[in-house]
Symmetry: C2
Subunit: 357 residues, 2 copies
């Protein structure tokens, strides 16, 4: 079967961009507690872009396929797995080694699927064998492409919004850098919860699109004092932010502390703008928490899929590539490199109907 | 009766040091819901040192006495207050306008006692009238000087350690800058809870004294890589920190993130080293929270006094001045200016036995 990894070439971290490599792998048979899944779709995340630049620890150049997100149909079950799983459409938990501790992984070897030496496997292949405990039934209202768009970003957003940010109905939430996968899932989750959502972006088109998806208002972070623009948009009845969900870092905390209510939260799931964000005495005096949040537990993954099902949420899809080939994949990485995407970049691996058993 | 405020003189914030001024105030009679307390002792906090330097907002040069901490005996009750309060020894809640919200003050006019325009009154006077709802009975095992040493630092430490840090028995806690009032109360609270406490200080004597008070070990922050010294001291069975209680800021967060467990907490209650502390991507990837914590609610104050009573804790007293006079007060401020104190700087206002009714 076809799979895609990366090829080792000379170059320094951050300067290199490892070429994709099409490889041939045998289709594995499931171990007793595993299922084998015919993958219908897989999706990209920022980490895949970092892996190709060697800006990620423990990169594998061997036989671990790229990508952490995948959805497909169970085609084979291990001897200890009920055969009722056969034919079910499933989404894969994107990480291993973190069961349920709200604080963080219980295990020292927490690993995300795809592209690294620690990863047990990756989703950019035609078939994948995983423990049955690592899959969830896909929500019925989603097709395979939409299902594959959910795992990693959905999990990261769910933990950031609910476990860390504790977002409640009626609260004002700021989500920075709308357009990225996590930010858009956070927007969907906050809106579904009944929060009032504000967004930032460098693109006017993305601000308009975010409003169509449920955001109340947005401001351009290219404005020199965007926090003042934002202040003017807050409702008179609740003229402050309760929670900020941030993937940018840099001056976002300093700019938003004055807008946050006392005891407000800034949840940081990434730092694309700068590798650190200063926490100031003003934040201390307002009892504000700056909370790091990465990925989420297996339990949070299950809760997230259930929330998507219950609220009938749909991920935003930016572009779909057709089939496992280098030519189909490169335009997706190109979009990520240029920051052009608005939503998820997905690879359709097999047509939906051929997968029906 | 005697009271002490500050006198306005020329000088820029940070450069000026306002002289103390002895004034004469009438003894107030209690309003219906108030009690009048004959103050036996009052205590200094860092904010009083900042007030004299004009590094604190809303300073009063009028008739609001300095100081937030006080303990005394109820000598008069308002018409709506049970007379059973008469003769009780009480400690005063150091702030007003924050009832019980764990997130932060419900009121926009949260005010700490002493020295500012917002403050309803201050404790550097012979008698004080306050709502009966703003006092707690003093723990019986403490004398008046010890009781007065507890309110502001105890409240700040209690919220930082328990509400924010969620410190549990068996956890490893780092308390930076041991010697300050909050740090020493945090040490007492963590030890009483059964946590294993590590401390930093610039003074070898303070490290020794902290160990006598229950700290497991300490490192000098003058060591270029004190975090490595600290790492060597952590128990083999639990070789990481669970919580950092920090009043320094600066590079404390960056140095301690590698020592913290996943999902660990850094609680910041002040920044004496630098006005900000950088939060890094390493912290995000470890799901670490950097939490601002200032003062605490009326409910937390009651819980703190109850904890002190229940665990029979004693505050550390650095120096006691005798009587309300400028000459007695200045040496206390001098100690604070030089960072010489180890524990609280207290003013004994009246002898314990003269106050018995």
């Amino acid at each position: 079967m076809k799979a895609i990894t990366i090829e080792k070439v000379e170059g320094k971290p951050g300067k290199v961009y490892y070429p994709l490599k099409l490889i041939d792998l045998p289709i594995s048979t499931p171990k007793p507690t595993e299922v084998t899944v015919k993958l219908l779709a897989a999706a990209l995340n920022h980490r895949d872009h970092f892996i190709r630049q060697h800006l990620y620890p423990g990169i594998s150049f061997d036989s671990i396929p790229l990508l952490a997100d995948g959805a497909g149909i169970v085609t084979s079950t291990g001897s200890a797995v009920p055969t009722s799983w056969l034919g079910k459409r499933v989404v894969l938990a994107p990480g291993r080694g973190w069961d349920s501790d709200p604080a963080g992984p219980e295990s020292d070897v927490y690993a995300i699927l795809g592209g690294t030496k620690h990863a047990p496997t990756g989703t950019l292949q035609e078939y994948i064998s995983v423990p049955v405990s690592e899959v969830e039934e896909a929500p019925l209202h989603l097709d395979a492409v939409e299902s594959a768009a959910i795992p990693l970003c959905g999990l990261t957003a769910f933990r950031a919004v609910f476990t860390k940010g504790q977002v409640q109905a009626g609260q004002n939430v700021l989500i920075t850098g709308i357009g990225g996968g996590v930010a858009l899932m956070a927007l969907a989750f906050c809106c579904a919860k009944g929060a009032v959502v504000f967004v930032t972006s460098g693109s006017g088109d993305k601000l308009v699109a975010a409003k169509e998806l449920g955001a109340s208002a947005g401001v351009s972070y290219k404005s020199t004092a965007w926090e003042k623009d934002l202040k003017g948009l807050l409702p008179r009845s609740r003229p402050y932010l309760d929670v900020v969900i941030d993937g940018a870092g840099g001056d976002v905390a300093a700019r938003t502390v004055p807008l946050l209510k006392r005891g407000g939260k800034i949840v940081s799931y990434g730092m694309t703008l700068a590798p650190q964000t200063p926490f100031t005495m003003s934040a201390v005096l307002k009892n504000i928490d700056l909370m790091g949040s990465t990925m989420g537990s297996r339990k949070e993954f299950g809760d997230m899929v259930e929330f998507v099902r219950d609220k009938q949420l749909r991920p935003v899809i930016s572009k779909v590539a057709d089939g496992i080939s280098i030519d189909s994949l490169e335009p997706l990485f190109e979009d990520m490199k240029e920051g052009r995407q608005f939503g998820k970049l997905v690879v359709k691996i097999a047509p939906e109907d051929t997968a029906k058993l």
